[in-house]
């Protein structure tokens, strides 16, 4: 479904991604973790072409993202993305946030878009918040709307960029619950997160990144039992110690 | 039509005198405006109602008026108040100082507001008086934050000094215009003046940008 083949990326003199490769199968859930600044966020933004790569090749569902002649909007419409700070459109209500690109990009009718939007808000448990503006919602609610917004485009895969790290602790589980449900329904997902509980529960594999390199790709149980790289061990001991 | 360089070269000493007057006006108005503006900003943030109201009224009053009108006001008022003609330089300086003070006070206020409540509280918690807190904690931080805006305002002020044209003070703008009309060479003189102003002001705004870049770090 998603193939990342030895990509490299520089910011000026600084190399953010070093020869990264990863294959994600249809229906698979992969968690990407690693210390801050390790390039994990940049990596998933390359998958839908938000960050251009300097070399290497990425394909999603048969479309070559890294080919300059590929129409990126068309690719992106099929890949959902969820951001750290939700990034709902502040000038639109929750419902309108779900409707906007269904109408503009997928050319669905207003009626159809609205029906779909209501259905998805219901699914993430926010049917009663449809007419509120994002700033009137809590962080957890905003993130659930953002997930619903991405789902409204009927994506073939979903990318999550630290979806819970901007949330107050008591709101994290409401977002993770939605994501777990999504994973169990068979959505292909790449999730950048430090929520190791979530990884244990639904991820088939864990990717550990450090210094712009993929240090380790391991099946989830293996990663937690006996990570092969020293850095992964160190990282795990730091984040699991309390 | 030929571009006549000679007329500019011949007029250079006269134009240079004008440029010096422009700088002089800018410098005096900046120092005066900054001093008065700081005072107004301190009044505005003092929390004492009559002072707050006075500062608010002053700033909003001057910010509602065109600079030219203010220049005319003082050109007319100053000799009347003193009882004899004093020349347009002094009335222009007074007009600029009082006018600019309104703008500098807003810059100062924004700068003071940029110092976080936590910093102010920290100073007070350490036992500083209001005055000491302003002097040692708030103002130094505020001035650092304001530096780019202050330079930008100086560039605007430098351009604004060209308005003394309306009271026939011979700044760079007026000097250029005098030569332009006298020699019948409007195109040459006005374009030359524009280039000179542009170089000075553009250099100023590049300086502002480098200040901002240094502050980000």
């Amino acid at each position: 479904m998603i193939e990342i083949d030895s990509i490299n990326k520089w910011y000026g003199d600084f190399q953010v991604l070093k020869n990264c490769s990863l294959r994600v199968e249809k229906g698979e859930v992969v968690v990407v973790c690693g210390p801050s600044g390790s390039g994990k966020s940049t990596l998933i933004k390359c998958v839908n072409g938000l960050e251009p790569v300097d070399s290497g090749r990425i394909t999603v569902n048969g479309m070559v993202v890294t080919d300059p002649s590929t129409r990126l909007p068309k690719v992106r419409a099929q890949i959902g993305m969820v951001f750290q700070h939700f990034e709902l459109f502040p000038h639109k209500t929750a419902l309108e946030n779900l409707m906007l690109t269904q109408i503009k990009v997928l050319r669905r009718s207003r009626h159809e878009a609205e029906r779909k939007a209501h259905q998805l808000l219901e699914r993430v448990g926010l049917a009663d918040q449809a007419d509120k503006y994002p700033n009137a919602l809590s962080g957890g609610q905003q993130q659930r709307v953002a997930i619903a917004r991405a789902l409204a485009m009927d994506p073939v895969a979903m990318l999550f960029d630290e979806p819970t790290s901007a949330l107050d602790p008591e709101m994290i589980s409401e977002v993770l619950d939605v994501m777990v449900e999504l994973a169990r329904e068979g959505m292909t997902m790449i999730v950048v997160t430090h929520e190791m509980g979530f990884a244990r529960k639904v991820a088939q594999r864990v990717v550990f990144m450090d210094g712009g390199m993929i240090q380790e790709i391991a099946p989830t149980p293996v990663f937690f039992e006996s990570p092969s790289s020293e850095r992964a061990k160190l990282f795990l001991s730091k984040i699991l110690s309390h | 039509m030929r571009f006549d360089y000679q007329v500019i070269i011949d007029a250079l000493p006269f134009l240079l005198d004008g440029l010096l007057l422009s700088f002089y006006l800018t410098a005096i108005a900046m120092v005066g405006g900054l001093a008065l503006g700081t005072l107004l900003a301190l009044m505005r943030t003092s929390g004492k109602l009559p002072l707050v109201w006075f500062a608010k009224l002053y700033v909003n009053f001057f910010r509602s008026l065109p600079l030219i009108l203010v220049i005319f006001w003082f050109y007319f008022l100053v000799p009347l108040a003193i009882g004899r003609p004093v020349g347009s330089l002094y009335s222009a300086l007074i007009a600029f100082t009082l006018f600019e003070a309104a703008y500098y006070s807003e810059i100062m206020r924004a700068g003071l507001n940029s110092v976080s409540r936590g910093q102010i509280n920290a100073g007070l918690a350490l036992g500083l008086t209001w005055r000491q807190n302003m002097q040692y904690v708030a103002l130094p931080q505020a001035i650092r934050a304001m530096l780019p805006v202050l330079v930008t305002q100086a560039i605007i002020l430098f351009q604004d000094t060209s308005l003394v044209y309306v009271v026939a003070l011979r700044d760079f703008m007026t000097a250029s215009s005098i030569v332009a009309v006298r020699e019948g060479r409007l195109i040459e003189l006005y374009l030359f003046a524009a280039v000179v102003y542009f170089i000075i002001c553009f250099a100023g705004s590049m300086f502002v940008r480098s200040l901002q870049r240094r502050m980000v770090r």
Partner: protein, 240 residues
């Protein structure tokens, strides 16, 4: 201080009429210039944020050029120099047949000058949106143009309404420069009354009060606009 007060003079003809016509010209210059400033300023502000380097360069050059030359000098250039540099036919038409050439020079000058300032506000409004908010629109499959129209501009516009109020006020104040090329706007008329009657106090007071009223009306209008376009809950928490 020796001064003979005569407030009644303001309400005598022709002086009362002078003030009214001055006020009218101030409004005419400022509002026509604002139309140019607003439209051109938005266009240039957008161009300053696009990907294309050349478009960005042109927009930046425009802003720097108009920001770094005094407005008065720009006015003289529009009025005295530009007609000479136009193709002969056009230049002749401008000089001979265009009615009120000083009015149009003032309007174009103020409009193009203020456009540079409006452009800076628009640019900083667009750029104040976070990188990921822009990414959010793109990640949903919008083209960059759609993302501008549906997301970036509507939000940026709501952010720049307050700073635009101050630009709108500035254009009224700056319209007074038009007196140097012979537009008899408000400041010019008050000066003229002073010259004719030596009642400077009364004349300048009248002009001052009229400018204060203009300011209040503009602030009132923009407050209504601001309230109309405000995003509930948005902006209130920003910049703090």
């Amino acid at each position: 201080m020796n001064y003979n007060w005569n407030w009644g003079i303001l309400f005598q003809e022709p002086y009362f009429g002078w003030l009214l016509s001055g006020l009218l010209w101030t409004v005419l210059v400022a509002s026509a210039a604002w139309v140019i400033a607003f439209l051109l300023g938005i266009l240039i502000g957008i161009l300053r944020t696009v990907e294309n380097r050349w478009l960005r360069f042109i927009a930046t050059a425009y802003v720097e050029l108009f920001r770094n030359v005094p407005l008065l000098l720009q006015l003289f250039i529009w009025y005295f120099v530009v007609p000479e540099l136009l193709p002969q036919e056009v230049g002749r038409w401008v000089k001979r047949d265009l009615p009120n050439p000083e009015y149009w020079s003032a309007v174009i000058c103020l409009g193009t000058y203020t456009a540079a300032r409006v452009a800076e506000q628009v640019r900083s409004g667009i750029n104040s949106l976070s990188r990921d908010l822009v990414n959010a629109g793109l990640s949903l499959g919008m083209t960059p143009a759609q993302n501008y129209l549906s997301v970036r501009l509507p939000i940026a516009f709501r952010i720049v309404v307050p700073p635009l109020t101050s630009e709108f006020l500035t254009i009224f104040k700056n319209s007074s420069l038009a007196l140097t090329i012979g537009v008899l706007e408000l400041t010019a008329q008050s000066r003229q009354i002073e010259n004719y009657t030596f009642q400077g106090f009364e004349a300048f007071t009248a002009a001052t009060i009229l400018y204060l009223i203009i300011t209040m009306i503009v602030v009132l209008i923009m407050t209504v606009v601001d309230r109309r376009v405000r995003i509930p809950g948005f902006l209130e928490g920003r910049h703090r």
